[in-house]
Amino acid sequence: MSNFRKSQNEAHPNKTNTILTGIILLQILFISMQIWLLFGALNNALEENFGFALTTFIGSLLMAIASIWLLRYLPEPLRKDSKNKPMVSPSRNP
């Protein structure tokens, strides 16, 4: 079955690449911020700074939700469409 997505993919084979790279970069950005927040929370919780712990938790949670929600936009894996694609015939049939 041919659809818009498929023809797009065929017309712009680099697009998948770019989307994936973008998603991964965004996630790495989120995670580095989370590491930073966690580090701060650990240090500050020792100082009984409850507000800080709560704020960092909310921030971290939002980033986790964002980075999981980003997964929605992961491009589909290239599927082997054996029905539509003509197969290469074995070499013994020239």
């Binding site: 994936l20 998603i23 980033m63 986790a64 980003l70 997964l71 992961l74 082997k80 197969m87």
Partner: protein, 173 residues
């Protein structure tokens, strides 16, 4: 014969069912998913800190604790002692002057090494990473420790030294 084979995969392909192109693709997808999982784990551990802070608020030291007779500690000396029920917390008692006493937690606020009082420079030293604290207030003077040393208030009554939770900002926990 040719017609029959044309729709079929060559038999070696059955042994290696993954196309190389597809393999690299999937692994990047999996990496992205793993990053999502990692991100969730970070959020969880941050939440854990919040729960810990809510469930186990730091306890104040109750009442006064006898440490030592005052004449056992000469001026400029430091004495180690411990207080606590289940987990003992080490403290140091310092006699700065005849009537000037200080008590601090002995665990460095950096990585909990044992600090010690250095009389020659009148400061508290953490030997692990060259951290220095004021012997008077417990403030960080130099080095990596992020917070001042938690302090206890010292009371001397009838030649006996007692410590109790002070009203100071960097109180002991």
């Amino acid at each position: 014969m040719a017609k029959k084979d044309s729709g079929k995969e060559p038999s070696w392909k059955a042994d290696f069912p993954i196309e190389s192109k597809r393999a690299t693709h999937v692994s990047r997808r999996e990496f992205a998913k793993f990053l999502g999982l990692l991100s969730g784990a970070f959020a969880l551990s941050n939440g854990f800190i919040v729960i810990r802070a809510m469930a186990f608020p730091d306890e104040r030291l109750e009442g006064e604790h006898f440490v030592v007779d005052a004449d056992k500690v000469p001026v400029g000396e430091m004495l180690q002692f411990e207080i606590g029920g289940e987990d003992l917390i080490p403290y140091i008692l310092i006699r700065l002057e005849e009537n000037k006493w200080r008590a601090f937690e002995q665990k460095c606020t950096h990585l909990t090494c044992a600090v010690r009082y250095r009389e020659d420079v009148n400061k508290i030293e953490c030997p692990c990473h060259n951290g220095w604290f004021s012997a008077d207030t417990g403030e960080v003077l130099q080095g990596p420790p992020p917070r001042p040393l938690p302090q206890l208030e010292v009371v001397v009554r009838e030649g006996k030294v007692y410590v109790r939770e002070g009203e100071r900002e960097n109180r002991a926990v």
